[in-house]
Subunit: 115 residues, 2 copies
Amino acid sequence: MSSDCIFCRIVAGEIPATIVYQDDQVTAFKDIQPQATVHILVIPNQHVASLNEADRLDPALLGRVLQAAATVAREAGIAESGYRLVTNTGPDSGQTVHHLHFHVLGGNPLRLPLG
Amino acid sequence: MSSDCIFCRIVAGEIPATIVYQDDQVTAFKDIQPQATVHILVIPNQHVASLNEADRLDPALLGRVLQAAATVAREAGIAESGYRLVTNTGPDSGQTVHHLHFHVLGGNPLRLPLG
């Protein structure tokens, strides 16, 4: 845990958030500035800054984050209508919080193109 | 392998593609309709339709797909400038090929919002 990381503090329960899923490896909570009808963030409880540090995590943990994202989408009722999973890394992407997080976006038709 | 899946056929070498990374579990190749300066698709060699079927895959395999995406971004020279990783699931997202795939997009500032 990084004590100055807002997402680590959400995992630890030190900052309030609307948590929709949590286990010993993964936490999911509603984005406070939603960019779609459904907008949930799914994160590994373990702190890494971004996908650039993916090699520092156990591959099975990374995979469980993705499986949790699918679970969260199903429980939000958007598995069949569709959703987008996004993780941003670095300045060109608009990454603002430097704790690896996956956006689950859905509940309405999503914009294209992706880039 | 699904014989009518274009991505399975790319993995098998039956359809040409500009492959930038391949091992026994993961394949990455250039998107033929790029939506950013760098646009690479990273897929598990094993066929699943989308993230909705993530539970059918070994979590460690899913994690290795993400680690390969980070490797591909580094080799494309966009690890520091930044990139976005996206997977689309179902109609609202614009998913067109029904083999789980992650878009790696970068090389220029990417659009926001995400939804």
